[in-house]
């Protein structure tokens, strides 16, 4: 899997929709399909700061590849988590640290999600990036 492939799949998925209703329905469906996080993982250390709803992200690296799981108590935020899981899961650490947030524009989310929310997603992306960077530094 590579980030670029994941991204293009997501972008073309979103491009199928014309209305904001459909985009949200898609996001909500993504959220609903996300495997719930084990309660053990829903602790403060996995909580992502800077999101209005509770968001937990759990990162793990195996064979230089990221494995990321997450959850949220709000379904739209959960959809965003699912999006990031699809985007980053199984990507190589090296690739991830070179991605930037511009893909938010490319999948048309920056336009549709208000600042606070994209702040939320930015916080999630930051957490993933930092995890990968820390891994490389070691």
């Amino acid at each position: 899997m590579s980030f670029e492939i994941n991204k293009s799949v997501i972008v073309s998925d979103f491009n199928l929709f014309d209305s904001w209703e459909e985009r949200y329905e898609h996001l909500i469906d993504l959220g609903k399909s996300l495997e719930p996080l084990d309660l053990d993982f829903k602790n403060n250390s996995n909580l992502v700061e800077g999101c209005q709803a509770n968001v937990w992200l759990v990162c793990e690296i195996k064979n230089e590849k990221l494995n990321v799981m997450g959850d949220s108590d709000a379904i739209i935020t959960r959809g965003l988590v699912a999006l990031l899981v699809r985007l980053f899961n199984n990507c190589s650490v090296k690739e991830i640290i070179h991605t930037n947030n511009s893909f938010l524009d490319e999948i048309g989310l920056n336009k549709h999600l208000s600042m606070t929310r994209s702040n939320g997603i930015n916080a999630m992306i930051k957490k993933i990036h930092e995890y990968c960077l820390n891994y490389i530094k070691k």
């Binding site: 209703e21 329905e25 909500i28 209005q52 108590d73 709000a74 379904i75 739209i76 549709h112």
Partner: protein, 404 residues
């Protein structure tokens, strides 16, 4: 008479479009919109007579000083206080409360004394008391609230005793829109020689306040929540209490004589207004109060009652809405949950439909917990909102529920 169309045109922002559609502002409890008069008054100050106040002796300073102090009279009569020097200008309700917490409480509280605080208070009327009582080794006792978020009077009567020295309560709740019986609370408190501070942040835009008949010791509010500018607020206090108060801030304009060996404080109200105040803000607040007066609280109450009734029955008619209140509110504030759905999701989708509501803990985490919630959707209305907006809101809500 109260002509809604005319009134809406007084508020330029209300004709704003987003994505070519008009929007619905239902977050009035967070901050109200501003009538053109207020905006003009602020501009006018900066454009025509901007200057520092009190100390200058030239014509511009005369004009700004006069306008500034005229506002003190406007606020005095707005609250029906006796004396101009009982009106202190602050940077907001939060500063007003902190001034009493850290400048008055310490003048008489002893370790072991008690402070009663409602369980429904906004953080601004809870956290400062926690910090102050911690420092002074006093004890905070929460007051239970009955089902609509007002102080449970029987609990209050049980808890008041000679150790209770202070009571901090809100006039109207920012969550439930229900009103506390301030007059009775003050009267009982005074029988026990306790002082009462009333947080009027959610009251002054909805009803006429009379500190004289309430007989509270302190009353405070924010300008931005009653159609005035941001960064300005009011602390009313009975003169003899303000005289006993230690200022929270020290600096220019508030002192008598200053030398390195010692300095003396000036008179009220300056003593409690250190530094250059928010002159434009204060003057703009005067315009806001004049605007309110031009409408009249009778008309405002009437208009808001209609809105509240309509909203109440509309929400009651939806069976997946869990309201935080059991009876219609005195001011048009509605906090609720859509069953099984996070408040945040509701707010997100309402925003897509150009409807502004607040979601989450509403700066009152203990109150939210008390109401068995983790966060509400709050629609807070104001006289300039319309019945049509309520209808649009309700159908938007139905659409949200279908989407989620």
């Amino acid at each position: 008479m109260f002509e809604l169309k005319k009134i809406r045109s007084d508020f330029p922002i209300l004709s704003k479009k987003r994505n070519e559609k008009s929007f619905i502002y239902f977050d009035n409890a967070a901050t109200t919109q501003k009538p053109q008069e207020v905006i003009n008054e602020v501009c006018d100050f900066y454009t025509h007579y901007n200057s520092n106040i009190e100390r200058g002796m030239y014509f511009l300073a005369d004009e700004s000083t006069k306008k500034f102090n005229d506002t003190r009279s406007i606020v005095r009569s707005f609250l029906n206080a006796k004396l101009n020097e009982e009106i202190i200008f602050t940077s907001g309700c939060t500063q007003s409360i902190n001034m009493v917490c850290f400048g008055f409480l310490n003048t008489f509280i002893k370790p072991g004394d008690q402070i009663l605080i409602g369980k429904m208070e906004h953080h601004a009327n809870l956290v400062p008391w926690q910090i102050a009582s911690n420092r002074l080794k006093a004890k905070i006792i929460p007051l239970e609230s009955s089902e609509n978020g007002v102080i449970d009077m029987s609990d209050f009567k049980k808890k008041i005793n000679s150790k209770v020295k202070f009571i901090a309560i809100q006039h109207i709740s920012n969550i439930t829109g229900h009103e506390n019986n301030i007059q009775e609370i003050c009267s009982i408190a005074h029988q026990h020689n306790a002082f009462v501070l009333v947080d009027g942040a959610q009251a002054v835009s909805h009803k006429s306040v009379n500190v004289h008949s309430l007989n509270c010791d302190f009353y405070c509010f924010s300008g931005h929540k009653c159609f005035g500018p941001t960064g300005v607020g009011v602390l009313y206090g009975k003169k003899d209490l303000l005289l006993r108060m230690t200022p929270l801030l020290f600096g220019g304009n508030m002192i008598g004589r200053v030398s390195f060996s010692n300095s003396s404080l000036g008179d009220l109200p300056q003593k409690l207004e250190a530094g250059t105040p928010n002159i434009a803000g204060v003057i703009g607040l005067g315009a806001a109060i004049n605007y309110i007066s031009s409408l009249g609280f009778n008309n405002i109450k009437l208009a808001e009652k209609l809105l509240a009734e309509k909203m109440w029955s509309a929400l009651k008619a939806m069976n997946n809405i869990a309201l935080s209140i059991k009876a219609p509110p005195q001011s048009p504030v509605f906090s609720f949950n859509v069953k099984g759905i996070h408040s945040y999701d509701v707010g997100t989708l309402l925003d897509e439909m150009n409807i502004c509501v607040r979601t989450g803990s509403l700066c009152a985490q203990p109150a939210i917990k008390e109401l068995n919630s983790t966060g509400f959707v709050r629609a807070s209305l104001c006289f300039y909102n319309t019945e049509e907006e309520i209808e649009l809101f309700v159908s938007a809500l139905k659409k949200v529920i279908k989407l989620l």
